[in-house]
Structures are given as structure tokens and as C-alpha cells.
Amino acid sequence: MSRRPLEGIRVLDFTWVVAGPVATRILADHGAQVIKIERGSPAPLGNRKLGLQCDLHRGKLSAAINMSDPRGLELARRLAEKSDLVIDNFSARVMRGWGMDYESLRALKPDIICISMSGLGHTGPRSSYVSYGPTLQALSGFTLLMAENDGTPAGYGYSYADMCGGYTGALAALAALWHRRRTGQGQFVDLSQFEAVTAVIGPALLDISVNAREQTSFGYDSQEAPAAPHGVYRCAPRRDGETVDDDRWIAISVHTQAEWDRFVVAIGSPEWTSDAKFRTLFLRMRNRDELDAHLSEWTRERSAEDAMELLQDARIAAGVVENGIDLCERDPQLRDRGFWPTVRNPNGASTHVTGIPFKISSGSGEVRATAPEVGADADYVFGELLGLSREERDRLAAAGAILT
């Protein structure tokens, strides 16, 4: 096994739910030793050997500490002293209450890095707001602008804010670690997940501040170069044995005139394509409802896969609107690149998790272990790392400071 890039870095991880665990999973995949500190309550949010919870916690170590016991707190502080980075996703008062905030930990370890991924940040009048990914999406505009044509909100069914908070958190951690490596200086990073997700809205924010333009749902208006056709088009049902799936779609984007010309040939130059009202991009955008209706007739007669292949052969941007089964089982590209690595669980059963979206020629990240059960690594963490004897550990466990 090659050396992974972050080997030698130790992360003490107090995060939970989704955003924080995504950040630390990225660090763990690349070789950092991530010690997840669990507190007995709340209980794990699901089966760690499968699905989302396995995805979030794979490759981490777990130790369970009673943080309301002073001896538990002392263990946590000693672990922080042996770590490069301490990360949490609480509001400001929690870590401070434990004496685990940056100022306190810096006194123990002057070059410590602390990252707090709270909902709305540690400062400001709303820093104590309780929030989750979906509520941050609502506050930032994502929810309102994911709308049907009549403006009815139509999403999100998931927490993009958490995934965005996660990759932003990993980035913040790496930037702070890099700075420390160059200068020897640690620091405190106050990451507001609200700000992280707001930052990725994109140029629409400047359209508001520069042009004072109110943003409405984009629908399938292109948010990059203008395009028509541009959107999703219903395809023929997919039949697998007895089951018929009539929720099949293809996304198609035709940006330039050259692409349109190739597109017309690819779909067999049906008569409507020579109609003057579709001659230029400007006209195609103006008459897009009619254009979309014609195109839908063409896609409806084909499987999404066939339509994609035919259009890609003509170098047109087109792709199956993949559902979970397409994505995890059928997509030939993701399979070819090994994007769903296998993890083996202690009972011998194996499952797949989400992979790492890049390969580094000098040594890639790698998913090397499944997710730990709560407290699974107590021996390593309290024994090997803190040097507590078996008797001391047993005593702390019996006293309820170490949770088993």
C-alpha cells in the first residue's frame, strides 16, 4: 500500500450528523488518523456497517467519553494535546463549556488548530440559532429557487448544505494545516455552514448586488452559456423483467450553432428541425416550449441510455438522469474508475461506499476500513495513545468516564 498524503496527522473529531463527518471522512480517506469522540448520547444515527452511516464514518477510530464527567473531560483534553486538529460542529458555548475551545486548548498545545463548523458561526446576533442543513438552505435562497415553473418550492429532499459544509470544512482544515506546516502556527477557524453554502450560490449573488436584479427560479434556463434545447426530456420506460420504470429522463444541452447542426443530424433530421423558428439559438430559446415538445416526442421513443449514446456520438452534452440504481450499479464510467470501493465488515460481509473523486499519481487516498462501532478503539486511544494501563481504563469505565 502506498503512503497516503495525510499520514502522520491526527484529528480529534467531535462532529456529528453529516457536515462535520463528511469533512473528517475526507481527511481520513487521505491518511489522517481521525479519532471520533462519541458521548453515549445521542445514539448512533443508524447502522454504521451500511449505507450513509458507513459512508460518513469509514476509516475513522471511535472512542466514547462521558463529557459531563470531569475525568472524561480530562481524557478529551489529553487527547487534544496529542492531536494536530480538533474539529466540532457545535455552537460556540459547547466546546467552551468543556474547556475545549481554542483559547483553552492553545494553552495546552500552542500550535493546535481548532475548527468549529457551527450552523451560523460563533459571532453575530444569530450565532445561537439552531439549524440543520435544510434550514440553512432555506435561509440562503437555495430552497426557494428550486421551484416548479409556477414558483412552488420543489426541494430539497436532501441536505446539500451539509455536503457543501463538509467539503468546505475539509478545505479549511487542510489550509490551516498547510499554514502550520510552513510557519508552526495554529489557529482557530470559525466556519459558518450558512456562509459556506451562501458562498457557492455563484454569480447570481453579483447579479443582485451589482444589477439589483431579483432572482427567480432558473428552471432550465442555462446558468452558464445560453442553450436550447436545454433541460430534461422524458424517455421510454425501462423494463427489467417484471418491473417497468416510467420515470426515465435524459438531460440534453445544445449550446452552439455547430452543436445544433450535429444534433439535428444525430436525431435523424426530422422535419420540424428545419422550421425557421428554430434556425438560430435566439429563436430556439424564444420558441423553447415548442422545441421541447418536439424533442420530447423523439426522446419518448428511446431509452435514456440509447439517446445518450447517440447524442454523445455526435459530441452533444447529454446524460441519463441517473437514479440511485443507475448511479451505483449501472453507470459504466463510475464502475470503470472504481468509484464505489468495497469495505469489509468484521462479520465478513462487505458493502460499497462512495469513493474519492480524484486520483493523485504520487499516492491517492484510499478507503481502508469500515466505520467503527461506538467506542471500538478504546484500547488504542486510551491505552496506546494516552498510556493508561488496563486497570486504569477499567476503573475509568467502571466510574462511567469512559463509555463502553
Binding site: L52, S127, T135, S159, W178, L191, S192, L205
Partner: protein, 406 residues
């Protein structure tokens, strides 16, 4: 943002980045520029394609007024260079000798064809890190396939789950496939920098936008690997079944049933709208989960007459994780963002004005995020960079300019 500390160097100060990427990947190098790296945007003479994308300042189409360009290229310098001309490619190789990082998003194989592929760049500068961002990466059966952000969100499982069952899937706000790829690209480069510290060796990074986007979808892969199902579209009902959008008197609200149930239901009851939610069974989180549709229907009737903001204030006072469903315009008046200085002013002297830009995605107290310079005009720094960084003579520059290379 900590204005007082803004004289401190950024976290990535001292790194030199050459950004050859097109409109799909420019956020990646901007992340480095915002954190203090010296980022040189290398664009074709006349300006790169991002500058032709709207919206435009004052709706006047011009390469220096594209808000698309502004958003993705803040804090960078600009050098124009025709990489398709061998003399231009040679200049690029000279620049890459003293760079730490090159970021490109050409079709796979293009860099090699231009004579600036990994083999050449690595031979010239073994410590160089080259990040190649492509829709499907550098290998595999889709390697040469075309995709824009819409098609990528489709092929990454992000699009299918947006919208109502039975209706067409709906696009998310912003180019989130590109944004995910840019962030993972920055993460990848930093990982490669750590590896380089250890070995002295640079690296070629092969990043797939499709994969990065799939990494930014929360629940689809997990549900499949756990239950072999395809997550459906659920409208505004979150897959966890603890959140749904409700309509109030003057807009929309995000309900959440993960707060303290007793205090929420006492409030609803006091308003005379609790209906059967007073049943003690709802104290159980799992019961609320199973009954989500009915529960939110009752709560929707409750909020129907409430003003949005009043509901939010009272909910948060009771520590209920509610939120208003706001338009993005509201961000510019948001007290929390203002108090934290999230939006920053960027002066555009050519337009005689300052404009508010979104600022730091995280506040680094020791190494502040900051505005170093407004987005560059086309080729604004060409002369200075060629003179100062590779010691090019004025004669050589004139010759290249006459040829149309710079």
C-alpha cells in the same frame, strides 16, 4: 471578517498557481487566490470564454464586465497567452518551471497535444502539481464525452431527486457540479502538497467532475447500498422526514420536527391548531418520522396565517430549528452576515464604483481571507508577469505580441 488582521499573510501565501481552466473550473484557483496564493490566470488573447458569459454589470456585455468572470476570478492576475501557438506553449513551460501548481480543464489529452502535458511539465519541474479537471476524468469509457453542469448533475444522481414525484426533475440553484469539483480539486491539491513535502515529488491529479458531484449528494448512494433502492423525488419533504416547506401568510417556512417536541406542540396548541398532534405518541421521534406527511399537513394549517419572520423569531426563541425560506436577495440585509462582515466591498476603479461580493466561506482567525485585487482585466498583468517572473525582454515581448501570442 477580521479587518484588523488583514495585514497578515493568507494561509496559502507563497504558493504560485497557473490557472489554465475554463469557466467550469475557475473556482478552484480562486479558492487559492482568496487564501493568499499568487494565482496567474492564463487566458487566450481576447479573453477566456467565461468573460462572454452573463450576467453583465449594467447588462452591458463586455469581457471586463461579466459577473460570471468576476465571481470566479477575484484575486487572480491575468496573462494572455495563445497556448495553441508553439511559442505560447514554450512561454507556458517557462512559467511552469517556477510554479507550484497548474490547474487545467481541457479535454483529456489536449495538454499533451499542446506540448505542455504532464510529461513535459514534470520533466521541467519535478515538484509541480498538475490538477486536471475533466467532466469524467482522464480515463474510462466516458472520458471524451461532453457535459455541462446540467448534464453532470444528471449523471451524478443529483438531478433525479429534485422536484415532485411524477413531475420532471428540477435544477438546483448555481453550478453545483462545477462548484463541487472545484472544492474537491482544491482539497486534492492540498493533499498532493502534503505528499510533496514528504517526498519532494509533484503529482498529476485526475479529477472527475461527475464523481465530485456524486460526492456532494447526501443520501442516494447510501440508500442504494443499504436498501438497494433508488431514492425518489419527494418534493420539499427531506429524505430524513424531519423537514418540509410550509406556506405561511407572506411566504414559506421550513418546518423541522427535531427540536423539543413538547414546547413546539404547546405553542401550536395555544394557537388552537394542534389537532391530533397532542397525542403522546408524537413524543417519539420515530412516530413523528412515520407520520411525517400528516404531521406536516397539520403544521401547515397552523402556520398558514402567521407572518414568516414572526414565526421564525418565536421558533428560535423556543430553540426550534425552523427557518424562513427566503430569496437570495435577503442575504444582503441579513443581520448575521452583516455582523460577521460576510459581504465585502471590491473596488472597480474603471467603473468608478465598489460592489459587494460574497466573502470568506470560513473565517481563519490567524490567516484572514481577503480581497487582494478585483478580478483582472483581460491580460492586465501580462507584461509585468513575463518581465518579473521569467525575465522576458521587451523585444521578445514585442515579437510575441506581433505574432498574436500574447
Amino acid at each position: 471578517m477580521n479587518k484588523a488582521g488583514s495585514e497578515k499573510a493568507g494561509a496559502l501565501a507563497g504558493l504560485r498557481v497557473l490557472d489554465l481552466s475554463d469557466h467550469r473550473a475557475q473556482l478552484c484557483a480562486r479558492i487559492f487566490a482568496d487564501l493568499g496564493a499568487d494565482v496567474i490566470k492564463i487566458e487566450p488573447p481576447g479573453g477566456d470564454g467565461a468573460r462572454r458569459l452573463g450576467p453583465f454589470a449594467g447588462d452591458v456585455p463586455h469581457p471586463d464586465r461579466s459577473l460570471f468572470h468576476w465571481f470566479y476570478n477575484l484575486n487572480k492576475r491575468s496573462l494572455t497567452l495563445d497556448l495553441h501557438n508553439p511559442d505560447g506553449a514554450a512561454v507556458m513551460r517557462r512559467l511552469a518551471r517556477s510554479a507550484d501548481i497548474v490547474i487545467e480543464s481541457f479535454s483529456p489529452g489536449t495538454m499533451a497535444t499542446l506540448g505542455i502535458g504532464w510529461d513535459e511539465l514534470h520533466r521541467d519541474n519535478p515538484a509541480l502539481i498538475l490538477l486536471s479537471i475533466a467532466p469524467f476524468g482522464q480515463t474510462g469509457p466516458y472520458r471524451d464525452f461532453k457535459a455541462d453542469d446540467t448534464v453532470l448533475t444528471a449523471l451524478a444522481g443529483m438531478l433525479y431527486v429534485n422536484g415532485f414525484p411524477g413531475h420532471a426533475p428540477v435544477r438546483p440553484l448555481g453550478l453545483q457540479a462545477y462548484h463541487s469539483a472545484a472544492h474537491y480539486g482544491a482539497i486534492a491539491i492540498l493533499c498532493a502538497l502534503f505528499a510533496r513535502d514528504h517526498s519532494g515529488e509533484g503529482a498529476w491529479i485526475d479529477l472527475s467532475m461527475q464523481e465530485a458531484t456524486a460526492c456532494a449528494v447526501e443520501h442516494v448512494a447510501g440508500s442504494y447500498f443499504e436498501n438497494q433502492i433508488a431514492e425518489p423525488r419527494r418534493g420539499t419533504l427531506h429524505w430524513s422526514r424531519f423537514f418540509r416547506v410550509g406556506k405561511c401568510r407572506d411566504g414559506f417556512i421550513m418546518h423541522c420536527t427535531l427540536g423539543d417536541w413538547t414546547s413546539l406542540i404547546e405553542w401550536v396548541k395555544a394557537d388552537g391548531k394542534a389537532d391530533d398532534l397532542i397525542d403522546p405518541a408524537y413524543q417519539q421521534v420515530m412516530h413523528r418520522n412515520v407520520m411525517a406527511e400528516h404531521l406536516f399537513d397539520v403544521l401547515d394549517k397552523w402556520v398558514a396565517d402567521y407572518p414568516r419572520d414572526e414565526l421564525l423569531e418565536h421558533a428560535q426563541m423556543l430553540r426550534q430549528p425552523y427557518a424562513t425560506v427566503r430569496p437570495p436577495e435577503a442575504l444582503f440585509d441579513d443581520e448575521q452576515l452583516s455582523a460577521r462582515g460576510f459581504f465585502v466591498e471590491v473596488e472597480h476603479p474603471e467603473l468608478g464604483r465598489k460592489f459587494r461580493y460574497p466573502g470568506a466561506p470560513f473565517v481563519m482567525n490567524g490567516t484572514p481571507w481577503r480581497v487582494y485585487r478585483r478580478p483582472p482585466l483581460v491580460g492586465e498583468h501580462t507584461g509585468a508577469i513575463l518581465r518579473d517572473e521569467i525575465g522576458m525582454s521587451a523585444d521578445e515581448m514585442s515579437a510575441l505580441a506581433a505574432e498574436g501570442v500574447i
